[in-house]
Symmetry: C2
Subunit: 418 residues, 2 copies
Amino acid sequence: METCSFKEISGGVTAARGYVSHAISCGIKKPTATRLDLALVFSTEPTTSAGVFTTNRVRAACVRVSREHMRRGDVRAIIANSGNANACTGEAGLEVARTECRLVAQELGILPREVAVCSTGVIGLPMPMMRIEPRIPELCRGLAAGKGHDVASAIITSDTREKEVAVSFEVEGKEVRIGSCCKGAGMISPCMATMICMVCTDAAVDRMALRKLLRAGVEKSFNRITIDGDMSTNDTCLLLANGASGVELAPGHPGWDTFCEALQYVLMKQARHIVKDGERVTKYVTVRVKGAPDRAEAKRVAEGVAKSSLVKSSWNGGDPNWGRIIHAVGYAGRRVHEEKVDIDIAGLPACRAGVQADTPSDDLRARVQAPEFEVLIDLHLGRAEYTVYTTDLSPEYVDFNRSEYAYWNQAKQDGLTR
Amino acid sequence: METCSFKEISGGVTAARGYVSHAISCGIKKPTATRLDLALVFSTEPTTSAGVFTTNRVRAACVRVSREHMRRGDVRAIIANSGNANACTGEAGLEVARTECRLVAQELGILPREVAVCSTGVIGLPMPMMRIEPRIPELCRGLAAGKGHDVASAIITSDTREKEVAVSFEVEGKEVRIGSCCKGAGMISPCMATMICMVCTDAAVDRMALRKLLRAGVEKSFNRITIDGDMSTNDTCLLLANGASGVELAPGHPGWDTFCEALQYVLMKQARHIVKDGERVTKYVTVRVKGAPDRAEAKRVAEGVAKSSLVKSSWNGGDPNWGRIIHAVGYAGRRVHEEKVDIDIAGLPACRAGVQADTPSDDLRARVQAPEFEVLIDLHLGRAEYTVYTTDLSPEYVDFNRSEYAYWNQAKQDGLTR
């Protein structure tokens, strides 16, 4: 095994060579807004590409179209907007997504199926195509290197900050880069989250290997996170590889393991960014289940604890409430034996063999004040493990999500639905 | 089919003949408290009995002991406390539950297995048996008719009001009564809720018929409610029948159908009471799924919508947000076809064939301001149906559940754990 030898670099989604981008403000969300809300990323070279999408049975129009276009595995442009999810918008929504791809392709001299489309925002509101369509030529003409940060800005919604991760490593004297940006914030749950993640590398990678790698990577990162247990209609993670580094990678190749590690690092770090920037979130909690009889049971228990409103409320209060954790272990698991369950909170024993451990509760409480801690649950029934990354639930989250109505109504009055 | 011919009466859990009760204040929760927290219900006649308990793999000591005692089906006394759940208390907790039954049995001249025990309150804290044990003789000596309301008071925790339902009907000139009390408030989810429900009738009913009836009744009432999606360790529903009315009932008997209807009415009304009095709840929402390909899919979809934090937050804000509802339909269901989904909110079309319906959103919004409304989801895939009764999620719920730590710590300082 190679040692991990990549390093973080700046540059976001266009950090790798051969990628250009542009982002503009169309007023998709508010007619008078000046905030960036439409972005384009383009590889100047042909690519191989892979995508992973929401498993929600209700899928946004952009997800449907992007899946279709991803089938060939040669997508080299991604158009993305925030402010409207283009979900539950019927045939008209599909037409919008297809038109976006067609217009971008025309401008760039590529095929429509070489364009993927991502949208994020409110569900069920028709897309304001009259605001988007006339701006697409301008969007394409502005493409340039070094503007990845604008893409990161244009795709966020209730996120409080841009999410960019890029890395670089050397393979036989040549530098390979991976750049990425993503957005998260609400409706975050496996599998996957209300998220868009774009990853662009300048390695050349066979499309089948790329697909396999992305699927495995998402499984260990974005599919392990939950903020509110609500799986979105729009989740999309896209990976483009254009070979601009002059390095071709494949399983068995000297640089392959480093590439895999570096990509995994990027995905995991972005997943972590999403959780830490969850809507009105104050804690980052790792829920690790071990000693499970099988992986499915470990997963059920970890997700059960990570999704429990009562457990999450207690974390918000800085309360080391192991009683609520074990109650969730008990209803989420199918084979749990209460008298075998150990729970550690932030490294201290909280529960041993199903009853309270000796740790002074003030010590536990002190640890749970930290913005980040681990809950380790040992079922003592086998060797399977599963880890989920999650957050607390705050009164502010609920308050924040009480109403989109005013926005919705305003959007209609402003004519933002055509 | 008979027409429904029962009427509501007063009297709570001891409304039926042959039941006596008493409740006292032991300071289980706070040493100085004067609030009733220990109750006893007793049938002066031998009974048949049935019980339904939590399916959580982590079960309170009282649930384990009561299940054991219910096996013979002749329980005639129920001792219940609030303030401590006697859950995750290990062997010591089991010993407490068994001792409670033994002491009550001694005082009343019955067998320990004729006593059931219920506890509700905090998980993981040892029971303050030193406060309970010396008071049991007094609890038993105070038994009298007409004091059912005190039992209803003694078992509630974060409930804001007592929950009593009693009915009466005539069978061939003789009056049969069913009385009940219950508690709910938090950790409410199928199957079942953090609830205790005691139902006492003066009909004589065969124990096998009684069991079947209770199971079916709970399935349609308490197993259909969810407040926070968190299934408790202590859920218990007990049904006692003592024959004091002189009426013996069995399937096929003239009064049987009325009895079944009356019992169902009692259980459903109590389930409704629990939901309406959920912690910091402002809405009572019926989620009805129809047109499902099978019952399991209908159930998945109904529970998915009823448990979605985002959907529940929007109800709290009086927001008729069908987009969030359909997103939950999509992730909860396995066979949903988005383009077939219709959603009505409070009787008005909100979504048709997966896209927004024509109903003006102000009209929808006006309906969702009501404290009670129905969400009807038609999947148009078959004939199966399922209904769940639920609530909104409020910032106040989260705030209320942020910390039990202060209470916990105080309890220890006050010596309330022995």
